[in-house]
């Protein structure tokens, strides 16, 4: 296994995300509940990683660490060589805004904003000038096939369309890492395949690093590497020899 990992490192270059002996302990009243227990893992540029495990295995906690949404109780998380535990919360926000795009299970769109405004928000936060921001938003929405729905609010869109808005929002800042938390969890199988196909395309064609958290082993088959968590410990970390491809006929 070590041999394999070394080979990957050589092939993939530097680690984008590097977790070293990461612990996360939640205080539940009097009781301390460890969600992660000494997790160490490197995720490299250009990988499509599926973090898999049952609910309660610690995979969401791990995603929060990778996404700089939370800091570990113990251990270090390096994102592009920067120790996130040493960054101020504002710097973490800036780092998140620039480097990471989130796709959530519940889409997490802001309900009183149109598709356009939702996708524009990350650019507003990054203080991108209005003209180029506007063009970029329209391009990205067009790219996910919602060019004609820019003025619709989330409530006026189907689940699949909402998830595509959230993908557009994630892509609009051109992040290096795409973090997808159960991205198809709330979708029917057809629209779910649309989403997974988009993720695969971003990985293959655009060279993005995609990290997907899922409990669905079928879905994980589309990823290149599997990291399996159980009770806060990595129990399996291997290359998926048979990466499943979404066939042309399966979506559209």
């Amino acid at each position: 296994m070590i041999q394999v990992n070394l080979m990957i490192m050589e092939k993939k270059g530097k680690a984008l995300v590097s977790m070293k002996d990461v612990w996360k302990v939640y205080q539940m009243g009097e009781v301390e509940v460890p969600a992660l227990r000494g997790v160490s893992v490197d995720i490299h540029e250009g990988e499509f990683v599926a973090i898999i495990g049952q609910s309660g295995s610690g995979k969401s906690t791990m995603m929060n660490m990778v996404g700089c949404l939370d800091v570990p109780s113990k251990g270090t998380v390096l994102l592009k060589g920067k120790d996130i535990t040493k960054l101020s919360e504002s710097n973490l926000s800036v780092l998140r805004g620039r480097s990471i795009g989130f796709i959530f299970q519940q889409y997490n769109l802001i309900p009183n904003m149109s598709a356009y405004e939702n996708v524009l928000l990350p650019l507003e936060l990054a203080e991108v000038d209005d003209a180029s921001a506007s063009q970029r938003v329209l391009d990205v929405l067009d790219d996910v096939g919602l060019g004609d729905k820019v003025e619709n609010r989330p409530a006026q869109l189907s689940g699949g369309q909402q998830q595509r808005v959230s993908i557009a929002r994630c892509l609009v800042t051109d992040p290096e890492i795409i973090l997808a938390d159960e991205p198809t969890g709330a979708l029917d199988s057809k629209t779910g395949k649309d989403v997974i196909q988009t993720l695969q395309r971003l990985w293959k064609e655009k060279g993005k690093t995609v990290i997907m958290v899922t409990h669905d082993l079928t879905l994980a088959q589309y990823a290149q590497r599997h990291i399996e968590l159980r009770d806060g410990i990595i129990v399996n970390d291997y290359q998926n020899k048979a990466i499943k491809q979404v066939k042309k006929g399966e979506y559209s």
Partner: protein, 410 residues
């Protein structure tokens, strides 16, 4: 995020929780409206009283016999002569020797000796008791400050003529008194030669005639002497000079001074001070409702932060810094304050326009109202500040939310 963008998001937040925002805004509207209304009514009253008293002339002094009494009971013409024509004390009077002393003071421009009292007046069979002022007709024209509505003022050749106040001419008796009409005062006939453009019911006549009309008057003794000074700026110095010289001639020390010199300016100032402290007191009461409005904003903001917890989490996940969230919520609170302030000013203007009509007859109603730019700017700044202060704690709370917790919030 740029401020203009934060402002846009804040405005959206206000507009998207319509009912709650508007209810909160209503609290501020009432507070600001009450403050503006009271402030402008106060200013209006102050100005109208100043106008009335301003007519007295800031360059004039009133000299009366007797030690200092309440200032407000003094005053020339229409305010004088409450009961009887004598000076306030049997012993203490103003007479020719005082006049001579005043004539020797170079800072004095005009001296008008006066007696006043009440007398029975009849006109076309109607009778009434009217305040009569005997004035030195040679100088009265120079120091009286009302406009002449019709006719003329007194001149030195006049004897059995009078100038009457505007209300006596029109409104006191059933029939209006016009120029050249004859009125009977204590049995003697007088011709009206002029009507003043004011609201008084006073009668002005040459002092020589007033001595004959007013029963207990004594020739060459005066109820008051009105003095106009050369230089209004030096009025205090002139008062001192007059007091000093009169004390010498009357052989009294400063402690036993038996006369009083009052400047009209002092009367005006006392009145304004009284008024402004009254309106300040009322404004303070109104400000309490503004305070309640502020509590309303704080309450709304806390609710809003709670309601938007997930949204805050999303925004933080996609790159919002603490500062961005803080500014957005502060602007939201400030906007509620500002909108409340603007509407409050409008309400205040409306109220201050209505109150004089509703309360006509009371001092507040008489004064009218005046919404000054100052009070508008003050009201708007205060309401914005109230919004920001009330929104500060909720906004800080929002900005400090940890993204992971906020995202989990349902």
């Amino acid at each position: 995020m740029r401020l203009v963008k934060s402002f846009g998001h804040a405005l959206r937040m206000v507009l998207h929780s319509k009912l709650r925002s508007w209810l909160t805004i209503l609290g501020i509207v009432i507070g600001v409206g009450a403050v503006v209304a009271i402030m402008s009514l106060g200013t209006g009253m102050e100005q109208s009283i100043n106008n009335q008293f301003g007519n007295l002339g800031g360059d004039q002094l009133t000299l009366t016999a007797g030690a200092s009494r309440g200032m407000s009971s003094f005053g020339p013409g229409r305010f004088g002569g409450g009961g009887g024509a004598t000076a306030s004390s049997e012993e203490v009077v103003l007479d020719r020797s005082d006049l001579q002393v005043l004539k020797g003071i170079s800072d004095i421009k005009y001296i008008d000796t006066r007696i006043s009292g009440r007398a029975d007046v009849s006109y076309l069979g109607e009778e009434g008791t009217i305040s009569i002022n005997g004035v030195d007709q040679k100088v009265w024209a120079h120091i009286q400050t009302s406009d002449v509505a019709s006719g003329r003022l007194l001149d030195s050749a006049d004897s059995n003529v009078v100038v009457i106040g505007g209300r006596l001419a029109d409104g006191y008796f059933d029939d209006p008194i016009g120029i050249n009409k004859m009125i009977t005062i204590e049995g003697s006939a007088f011709r009206v030669v002029g009507v003043l453009d004011d609201t008084s019911t006073s009668v002005y006549m040459p002092i020589s005639m007033a001595y004959q009309i007013l029963e207990d008057s004594v020739r060459d003794q005066y109820d008051s002497i009105i003095v106009a000074v050369e230089d209004e700026e030096q009025i205090d110095a002139t008062i001192e000079k007059i007091e000093k010289k009169l004390r010498m001639s009357r052989h009294v020390t400063e402690k036993e001074q038996d006369f009083t010199v009052t400047s009209n300016k002092a009367i005006i100032e006392t009145r304004s001070e009284m008024l402004s402290s009254m309106s300040m007191f009322l404004t303070a009461i109104a400000a309490v409702s503004l305070l309640v409005g502020a509590v309303g904003i704080a309450n709304t903001m806390f609710t809003s932060v709670l309601e938007k917890t997930k949204q805050i989490g999303i925004m933080k996940a996609i790159g919002a810094r603490n500062r961005d969230i803080l500014v957005m919520f502060l602007m939201n609170a400030m906007l509620i304050g500002l909108i409340g302030g603007i509407l409050g000013v409008l309400l205040g203007m409306l109220l201050s326009g209505l109150v004089p009509t509703l309360l006509s007859g009371t001092p507040m109603g008489r004064g009218g109202s005046l919404v000054t730019m100052d009070s508008v700017v003050l009201a708007l700044s205060v309401s914005m500040a109230v919004g920001i202060i009330a929104g500060l704690v909720p906004a800080i709370k929002a900005s400090k939310l940890r993204p992971v917790d906020a995202l989990r919030f349902e």
